[in-house]
């Protein structure tokens, strides 16, 4: 019996899949379904909910805080992802040059992405402090401003400050992943195009970018996904304030669901993220992937 099991690929395959399958079905697939169901109930902490149909969603659609959180999430995702892409690509191109201490630079650049976000966010919290911010200190000494900037107390300042912190953390991931892609491009393309008289910009536009597009698609899909569902940075820096100006869908779902106790409403908010998430992923993945097909990429 044991002998047979060892030699049957199917039986052994299922046995090997078992630990992963049990954990992922029990604690990932089941909660995913349960979350959707909770969104249609009025469950509170300590009380199983009753089916209430679309009531949570009907309320959330008209709720001004939810609308603001949705706007914030979209704004945060679009601006931060665009900045991460541009800066990350630029940094990758710089790191791809023939540099001294190449591995040192790569190690240093990855650092913001390695350390716990919650902890680096605390450093940003201190950097953005209304009274003791070093940025304000420098600008005052330079005579550029006469009052300390309230980085996290004003709605638009807070939005831009949190985006800056998110970009700081996300650029290394984009840069190092794109660097990996850049290194697969053969230098002979650049030599050939240089002989044909291409300028550096033309080389970038017609050699680097088309060959890099498939990897850009994957990297940006992940980047958009991480940014759209961001939680910790906002939770640490502003907790959604001032006046809900920086609430993202995830932080609002947490606030309503866990400290607020309305599990149903929180779950509905989380469920609301799914279509946007799918759309964002589809857009960045297929949008960029199709360009690769058009340009004769081999995917």
């Amino acid at each position: 019996m044991f002998e047979r099991l060892q030699n049957s690929r199917n039986a052994l395959g299922y046995v090997f899949m078992l630990p992963a399958a049990v954990l992922l079905i029990g604690l990932l697939a089941y909660p995913l379904g349960l979350g959707t169901w909770l969104g249609f109930t009025d469950a509170k902490i300590g009380r199983p909910g009753e089916w209430v149909g679309l009531e949570n969603f009907r309320y959330l659609v008209t709720d001004s805080v939810t609308q603001l959180a949705l706007f914030n999430t979209l704004f945060y995702t679009v601006v931060a992802s665009a900045l991460k892409f541009v800066l990350g690509l630029y940094l990758a191109l710089l790191l791809n040059k023939n540099l001294p201490f190449k591995s040192f630079f790569r190690a240093v650049v990855l650092l913001p992405w390695i350390v716990p976000t919650a902890l680096s966010a605390i450093a940003f919290w201190w950097l953005y402090d209304a009274q003791f911010s070093v940025f304000s200190w420098v600008l005052t000494k330079l005579g550029l401003i006469d009052r300390y900037i309230d980085f996290l107390g004003d709605p638009w300042n807070a939005r831009l400050s949190t985006i800056a912190a998110n970009v700081w953390r996300g650029v290394p991931f984009v840069a190092i992943s794109l660097l990996a892609g850049l290194q697969t491009i053969s230098p002979s393309y650049y030599e050939a195009s240089a002989i044909d008289g291409a300028t550096p910009w033309q080389q970038f536009r017609h050699v680097t970018l088309p060959l890099l597009t498939p990897i850009i698609a994957v990297v940006m899909t992940f980047s958009v996904l991480f940014t759209f569902t961001d939680f910790q940075l906002i939770y640490v820096l502003t907790r959604g304030g001032p006046l809900n100006a920086t609430h993202l869908m995830a932080t609002l779902a947490f606030q309503r669901g866990i400290p607020g106790g309305s599990l149903g409403e929180g779950a509905a908010l989380a469920t609301l993220m799914v279509p946007f998430l799918l759309a964002a992923v589809m857009f960045s993945y297929f949008g960029l992937q199709r360009r690769a097909w058009q340009q004769g990429g081999d995917k």
Binding site: P19, I114, A180
Partner: protein, 290 residues
Amino acid sequence: MSSPNDDVVGMDYLQSLPRRWVTIYIPLGIFVFVLLFPFYWMVVTSVKPNADLLSRDANPFWTLKPTLAHFHKLLFETPYPEWLWNTVVVSVVSTALSLVAAVLAAYAIERLRFQGAKPAGGAIFLAYLVPPSILFIPLSTIIFQLGLFDTRMALILSYPTFLIPFCTWLLMGYFRSIPFELEECALIDGASRWQILIKIVLPLAVPGLISAGIFAFTLSWNEFIYALTFVSSSENKTVPVGVVTELVEGDVYHWGALMAGALLGSLPVAFIYSFFVEHYVSGMTGSVKE
């Protein structure tokens, strides 16, 4: 795993040195400065005496009277050592658990090719795309029903939901690069599948195991939203949650202790990763090239 083009100088010799300074070194210097500045700020703040911290006139970039008082306060007057221990236990156990499950799953999908292996591989990839931010609410009700609320076990069991998909995906790539002929030889010599996995495939996949292990350890060390939701009493908290929720109570922020806590909590991952940085970068390269 290093790229074949690493040592190619290409056409760089055509660029003059001053030009390289303007187009490469100065922009790169600005990037490195911006990326490292918050860390420098953590270090400086954590050794400044309180008088310097709350003065607008002193030069904030330096201190003449460095002190370890904040570290002393952190380690002896707060539950920080407990949080550190919790984080270590949770990260190590959930990483080990995930690695075992991921090795078995990746080997089954990539090498045993059982019926349904392809859809299983796709499902694993999709599982990696499910963000914790939409799972934490239903997961918290499950944790509660299992009676695991406010225990380390809650975190040890919930972290594999994002670690297993990631590690499996990474290891599948590694297993794919091991030639089938090696396994066929062993099969002919009478080895069982289990022996092949232990004696042939795993030793060859050590770089992959190290990358997956480091990634998984870092991810669980940095995890925040599950630890914030599933644990409520101070003695069960992990470092990121403990620092954020327990050290910032009250009106007076103890910036020195906060920065010391952030620094100490960041050091282990930075340290581990600095030893294995080449594995890390090549692991990322491998997973991106898919």
